[in-house]
Symmetry: C2
Amino acid sequence: MGETRTELSRLGEFGLIDRIQSKFSISNQSSLKGIGDDAAIIDAGDDSLLVSTDMLLEGIHFDLSYMPLQHLGYKAVAVNVSDIAAMNGKPEQIVIGLAISNRFSLEAVDALFEGIHAACQNYKVDLVGGDTSASASGLVISITVLGRVAKDQVVKRNGAMVNDIICVTGDLGAAYIGLQVLEREKQVFLSNPEMQPDIEKYEYLVGRQLKPEARMDIIHELRERGCVPTSMIDISDGLASELLHLGKQSNVGIKIFEDKVPIDHDTYETAIEFKMDPITCALNGGEDYELLFTIKPADYEKLKNHPDIHFIGHIHNDPTQHVLVTKQETVVPITAQGWKHFKGE
Amino acid sequence: MGETRTELSRLGEFGLIDRIQSKFSISNQSSLKGIGDDAAIIDAGDDSLLVSTDMLLEGIHFDLSYMPLQHLGYKAVAVNVSDIAAMNGKPEQIVIGLAISNRFSLEAVDALFEGIHAACQNYKVDLVGGDTSASASGLVISITVLGRVAKDQVVKRNGAMVNDIICVTGDLGAAYIGLQVLEREKQVFLSNPEMQPDIEKYEYLVGRQLKPEARMDIIHELRERGCVPTSMIDISDGLASELLHLGKQSNVGIKIFEDKVPIDHDTYETAIEFKMDPITCALNGGEDYELLFTIKPADYEKLKNHPDIHFIGHIHNDPTQHVLVTKQETVVPITAQGWKHFKGE
């Protein structure tokens, strides 16, 4: 295929996306926003239509030795809904591309669709189309979600302003630690199939990995409280990576405080057990599907009593300075490990 | 996974889709039409938005030993655009899910996106989003296309009426015969890599397999001539299968004439060379991406001089009788081989 060969790992996912984006331009009037946010924005009269797609592959994004198919179906929908939530939208439709190898029975496919159905019910989303196919090896699920939001309510990544308060929902790092627990128990099982997995005490962490929820509850509550974030993104790759996206696209600086980053007690204890730094897990763990957003200082009063929204820092005016203030009050730059699939993770 | 195991091959693709559809219902007002047409229909004010998704997998839908990556990228877009054409719509946006194993270089990905870009230019479609990921084995491309059509212009599969004329564009069976040529040359090459492939004389057929076009030209011409088909579908699985879809969903009978089915001279000759019946190739070959549609008899005058629209039969009132009248004037039922991936094709 030509003379030179450049490895994809040299670019990484974001480098590849930037490269693709630079070669494509937008020409239709109805394309209001293309690549670069959690969802694209399409003109639909008074509303904006939101579109986002996510593909999950066996052996890359999930391991069926510990991921029940019902949970996988649910999660595949939830991670897409989360992208609509991140634009302050309401999800309405999904289409599913599904490739299945013949090692899957009809009963297995039914289990997968049970989970998809439960997620559709929970998030009030209609399954309106799809494509099913055989697969030469593993299971592939590709979901595209359509959402809707009034034109003046859409929230992008580029609206954060100096002095805005940085907010995060729920707690972070648990999904990543849950994955470590599952991987450890899998190794134990593989070396001795008589051993029963010991995951009861890690129920919360494992649940965060296997059964993530999109935070549509927060989107509804923000609306009820009359608060439109100035910028927003969902936390799929880790807090650090998402903070850098907001900083870059809004052209502002980020300052957060370690002692404000929400980490559950179980996450903290288990990270220590795994000889990991809890804040590193929260910053770089990924798959939390919580929301990261910024609000105007004037909106703080509307949210300050919310039990599940945490105020972790603020926006400042130097776009080259994205920093974490540690518990010891040292200031360290925020760096993203980013996406490691191409590096043979 | 439970006690019983039912093989997916017992249902086939359409059986599986029916099963999924029966378990899901539509609840959002904006979901105007769900599973069962070439695209779903979403409310967007005066317009309807059309959504369709197609997934192409290496080893199932394409073989990179004879499919250049540029062509693959182009085809992946074209087959999606064809679904929008089949609803009488105009494609406007795509999102792409892409999974790539590390055997692909950046140069290979660039070649793929060159083809995608060429198709986006040709069909005036914007790439507005996507998801890229590693793959444990082959290449997977999942494209979702959004299209638009005025509410009173949308054409579905269920509108064919008694006495309507059945029309088909272009010619049929060539893509299938092209695939046979490519497969034969691959086997020749594998048994003796010194041999040069002999595909020059099959250029048209091979081109139909590797470089299909969505018939947006026909959609524009139908509009110019003031003709809105009563029903329409694109020919991806073969004429027979698509005729049965129109018949079933419109609850009418189909009658077509073998001598009216358009088959190119090269397709005919090469089918004979491969000891295949040309009409069988046209009926069951698939991947032609031509349009099959029905028109009111009164619209015949508007289209009768069109060089690339063929009138192959008509609709009658017995929904249990879908028949082909052969050149020998015997009447045979139309049957679809349908989709064979799960049968270990």
